[in-house]
Amino acid sequence: MLADSRKQTRRILIADDDPIIRHMVTRFVQLEGYEPVVVNDGGAAYRLLKSDSNFRGAIFDMMMPHLEGIDVMRFMRSEKRLMRIPVMMITSEPDLKLMANSFAAGVTIFLPKPFTTDQFQSTFRLLLNHHLEN
């Protein structure tokens, strides 16, 4: 039931403290026909997710003030109503160990910075396909 309602929503949660990446990702999500819900950091994402689980997917920056992307994602994976929302993590660190740990913690897909419109589009579609498969 929860999964069915999530498949219908077109809302995508975006949390990034970098206003340029935020602006880019917001536009790219709109171009894909989805509705961006944008917050400025991990703390704001956490507060929103405590009362709102109606998201098709989430896109977090790995490194944010207050609460990092990985911490927000760990919270999501511990909550039944949030645990199936796929998470894309934007990162500038090509750190394989960090990526392996993040996958183990439940990250669905990574998008390394800097990225182009096409790279975002491909990664975003994979994120949502993962959602449909689950």
Partner: protein, 125 residues
């Protein structure tokens, strides 16, 4: 000379032009919007870095340098990204070298502003 970054192109306008793909007809020029956000954001990051160096707060300086590197690289502001990356990963002789790097960043910003403002004017006369 303690600085190690090598001279590279200030701004690669071809990288900026990639974002023309994201232009929506009838909306303001998307690349100009990105330029405006960048030119507003960089002085704020410089202030954070300057204060953090003065307070010997390496973590805050590193975070701000990380942000500066990320947003610069995404817009093709390559030399700024390289210097910010050097500051982000700086270990030895921190205060002195960090202050030198901040000065390099400020000088670089003048060059970047000229190029980005010219591009802005070309797109949005």
């Amino acid at each position: 000379m303690t600085l190690t970054h090598t001279e590279t192109q200030a701004v690669d306008l071809a990288i900026l032009a990639i974002y023309d793909d994201a232009q929506i007809e009838g909306e303001p020029d998307f690349v100009v919007e990105l330029i405006d956000i960048y030119l507003n954001e960089v002085p704020r990051l410089f202030d954070t870095i300057r204060t953090a160096i003065a307070d010997h707060d390496r973590n805050t300086a590193r975070r701000a340098a990380h942000s500066l590197r990320g947003c610069s690289a995404n817009l093709g502001v390559l030399q700024m990204a390289a210097i910010a990356g050097e500051l982000e990963h700086l270990e030895d002789n921190y205060s002195t070298v960090a202050t030198e790097l901040l000065l390099s960043l400020k000088n670089e910003l003048e060059r970047v502003k000229e190029i980005l403002n010219a591009e802005r004017k070309r797109r949005s006369p």
